[in-house]
């Protein structure tokens, strides 16, 4: 996909996020929107996956360590064809397979259940280790929140991945700067994030999370890097794409009402229309 196609797809992902969270009357739009471009790049450009054969053995693996942004992952998987886009409206409803946090048992395309912060990265490290042990070619990707890296387990996992030189692993940190209680540096600063991963023997790349040229270059560099895992620190805007949600910690975990939903969708429709003219 070229950048315009990726932007169009990411815009559809954002519409899916807003639709799902509005329908659920709960969920996490802020961090889903900040990661929408990352999700899009991974599933439509980077990863070897097949929506018609979600369990194929040689597929690349993805673990959503920041599991609360499930709406972003689900919207991406739906657009990729893993399940019907209409099902996004069942998010968080009783009986729906689209659980509030990723459930690998019931959702096509979800490689690992997650949601309890700090745990997904360990599972991703296990998948990367597994490939090394049996000589498999697949790569493993995991997306973390910048607040999530306050969890000690993240650094246990990073230490192991660095020590074991797992160059088939890419850790992406969605650095939107906000967590539930406020700015990450005010709550308990994890900065400098890049220096920390460097200290754990990672190949570290800083990017703008909303710039597909930079994402493309970073994932290419990750593939080419041998002997160490890669950490992509992606500077993002929480709530990106919906004006009143941008850079607001309050939109971490609350759903838009009907009026806000309408406004958000109108904004995204407008962006979509503009992109179609390109």
């Amino acid at each position: 996909m070229n950048n315009v196609e990726l932007q169009k797809t990411a815009n559809e992902v954002r519409k899916g996020i807003i639709t799902a969270v509005h329908s659920a009357k709960s969920g996490h739009p802020g961090g889903s929107l900040s990661a929408a471009d990352i999700f899009t790049y991974l599933y439509f450009e980077e990863m070897n996956v097949d929506s018609k054969n979600p369990e194929k053995a040689d597929r690349d693996r993805f673990v959503l360590s920041k599991g609360h942004v499930a709406p972003g992952l689900y919207a991406t998987l739906a657009l990729k064809g893993f399940f019907p886009v209409e099902d996004l409206e069942t998010l968080r409803h009783v009986g729906s397979y689209l659980q509030g946090h990723p459930d690998k048992k019931h959702i096509p395309g979800v490689d690992m259940s997650s949601g309890s912060l700090g745990q997904g990265i360990s599972a991703a490290v296990g998948m990367a280790l597994s490939a090394k042990l049996s000589g498999d070619e697949y790569r493993t990707y995991t997306l973390l929140g910048d607040g999530e890296i306050q969890e000690g387990q993240v650094w246990e996992a990073a230490m192991f991945a660095g020590a074991r030189k797992l160059d088939n692993l890419v850790v992406i940190v969605d650095n939107n700067g906000l967590q539930i209680d406020g700015a990450i540096e005010d709550v308990c600063s994890p900065y400098p994030i890049d220096k920390k991963f460097e200290a754990f023997h990672f190949n570290v790349i800083n990017v703008d999370a909303h710039n597909f040229d930079e994402l493309r270059a970073a994932f290419k560099a990750a593939r080419e890097c041998k002997g160490m895992p890669t950490a992509i620190i992606a500077k993002s805007i929480k709530g990106k794409g919906v004006s009143f949600m941008e850079n607001q910690a309050s939109w971490h975990g609350s759903a838009p009402n009907d009026e806000q939903f309408k406004q958000a969708m109108e904004e995204l429709e407008k962006v979509g229309a503009t992109l179609c003219q390109k």
Binding site: S122, A123, V125, L133, Q153
Partner: protein, 312 residues
């Protein structure tokens, strides 16, 4: 007792892993800097490339095991019960139990028989914690033969399994030609009509000795070995309760949440019976030689015998 062969079940664990390593190439053993103590070092010697030392980071180790299981391996996570079931409880619940991954947890140094290390390392809560996790199989083998059989059963069972091993050498009581291990099936080791002793782990051999002491007093005790605490062999326990009336549970574990509680959960609903729970009475352990502690906490044959006599 001195001529009876004694082996610690942690030793059986290491030996069994090494024994089955060739037959099951997907078997991967993880440890957290305790390979010498958990005895996974025995496996490491035979299959060094399939032994992964995660360093002192049990939560991450459980997560790595989840990732290995999600990609087709059969990982055995190894640490002391305190740090496996205790520290990594939530990782086991959310990263192993919830996705129903094929992870086996080999937890050694369970209970007060850890000995000299004392209370911080004596986990009397692991059975309680593990049996609350939906789909988790919980096994507490009584001796070397049963421990090895449990490892094999765990490999063959698809889904999460917790196996509890001990540090203290315990008598080998199942070294019989027709021994058969069946997941979820209790074993009646001794018939009796006056009361039933339901025991698990190292308390099984002590309970058999206690039954002999009771016999001298003219009391005929049935002894059941429950190696699988979850799923519990309810049929066997209900039948024994109906047959003998009184039930005593014996375990090297807190009386809260372990075998005793599992038996009470079952009987209160299916065959209301008086149950006396013999175990660690809601206290921490302490330092001391394991055998002395087992005696002090009333879990040796004499302690079990006395507690039963008091409650008849």
């Amino acid at each position: 007792m001195s001529e009876v062969k004694k082996i610690a079940t942690r030793e059986s664990y290491g030996n069994a892993l090494a024994e089955y390593g060739a037959q099951y190439p997907e078997l991967i053993v993880l440890d957290a800097d305790l390979a010498a103590a958990t005895k996974t070092g025995i496996f490491k010697k035979a299959f060094p490339e399939r032994h992964i030392d995660c360093g002192i980071a049990e939560c991450n180790m459980v997560g790595i095991a989840a990732g290995l299981a999600a990609t087709g391996k059969i990982p055995f996570v190894s640490s002391f019960a305190m740090f496996a079931a205790g520290r990594a409880f939530e990782q086991i619940r959310n990263s192993v139990g919830y996705p129903k991954l094929n992870v086996k947890i080999g937890a050694t140094h369970a209970g007060i028989s850890v000995g000299e290390d004392g209370a911080t390392h004596q986990c009397n809560e692991d059975i309680a914690l593990m049996r609350t996790i939906p789909g988790m199989v919980v096994i507490n083998p009584a001796d070397d033969v049963e421990a090895k059989a449990a490892v094999k059963a765990a490999i063959e069972h698809v889904g999460p399994v917790y196996i509890r091993f001990g540090r203290l050498a315990v008598p080998v009581i199942n070294d019989v030609p027709d021994y058969k291990f069946e997941l979820g099936k209790g074993v009646t080791l001794r018939e009796g009509k006056d009361l039933t002793i339901v025991a698990t782990g190292l308390c099984v051999s002590e309970s058999l000795e206690a039954a002999k002491m009771l016999e001298k007093d003219g009391i005929d005790a049935k002894v059941i070995n429950i190696h699988t605490i979850k799923p519990l062999d309810e049929e066997l326990i209900v039948a024994a309760a109906k047959e003998t009336g009184k039930v005593f549970t014996v375990e090297e574990h807190s009386v809260i949440g372990g075998l005793g509680s599992a038996v009470c959960d079952c009987l209160s609903e299916k065959a209301p019976t008086k149950v006396v729970k013999i175990g660690v009475n809601d206290v921490y352990g302490e330092s001391g030689p394991a055998v002395e502690l087992v005696k002090k906490y009333g879990l040796d044959a004499e302690g079990i015998y006395k507690k039963i006599k008091e409650n008849l």
